[in-house]
Symmetry: C2
Subunit: 196 residues, 2 copies
Amino acid sequence: MVEVNATMKVQYYTASTLDGFIATEDDSLEWLFPLGNLEDSSYPDFIAEVGAIAMGSSTYDWILRNSYTVAAETGSPWPYTPPTWVFSSRDLPAFDGADIRFARGDVTGFIDDMHAAARSKNIWIVGGGNLAGQFYDAGLLDELIVQVGSATLGTGKPLFPRRVLSPTLRLESVHQMGPGMVELRYTVTNPADRDS
Amino acid sequence: MVEVNATMKVQYYTASTLDGFIATEDDSLEWLFPLGNLEDSSYPDFIAEVGAIAMGSSTYDWILRNSYTVAAETGSPWPYTPPTWVFSSRDLPAFDGADIRFARGDVTGFIDDMHAAARSKNIWIVGGGNLAGQFYDAGLLDELIVQVGSATLGTGKPLFPRRVLSPTLRLESVHQMGPGMVELRYTVTNPADRDS
């Protein structure tokens, strides 16, 4: 087992509408683009500390299908440098020039490899909500960092399809970024910590 | 038509989980009680400026069925002084000692009476989300004030089942209340204002 440094975190960092959706039903993120600019957000500082990435198949699919939009928003069709684990029960195409590792099954089986690849840095769960939920279920999620955009979708892909009530999340900080966005940072009390 | 003072607002003031639910599927608000205390929140200042209330039938039903809990949390089984319009297509029992007016049909048909009763004060839409949505659809919603609790429900009654993207909401202020809650205040751009 890899020795995990206490400063290494598993972080679900994402944008959500006020009503708790990260994307439309067809996985579009276009609701988000008018509301803020990545470079003016916490993203540059955040990504500098990320050493490995976890991503669900819908998110990966969306990036594949929208490389033009992604390149326009981020400057590159594959905007991530760290090695990326794509969790999927389906066979998916690779992405030229990206360090992608396809993963199938329980997230617990991959966490040691991810920590090893990340070295002293953090693991970023890009999304979707269900993948973040699987890390939570396994007691592996440390932080939830949500940019809440000033919009609602009414329906769509859920931010975090889990019930977290006892203990609840702990709101560590809030940071408004103009009229279009506020960032909320929560720490997660994992089941293992609760029992100790 | 009642002359509406520009300082009179129609406000949807509510608590929501981080994932956009105001209550469980069976209308329970118990997720909320451990997270904050009404008296330490913006509620005393807010309610002092409220002159009329609008409420959906599920919210009203919940108060009727949980008078003991409501009394324990607020000091009274019917915790509101202003006249309250209960919007429902069903026949519902009255509440002894409360100024209840049952309303059926389009919210637009009642807004003048509500403004007249509120005099120079605001109208509070207590909930649920669909009633707030009906005021929004009619171009009557001015502000959305949400206490986002540090919890998720996964499923439940939606905060605001509408798509508000163009123009989006405008985040006016954020106010953290400890680790359990943050208040977000938005102004709503109504269709009538957009067209002018």
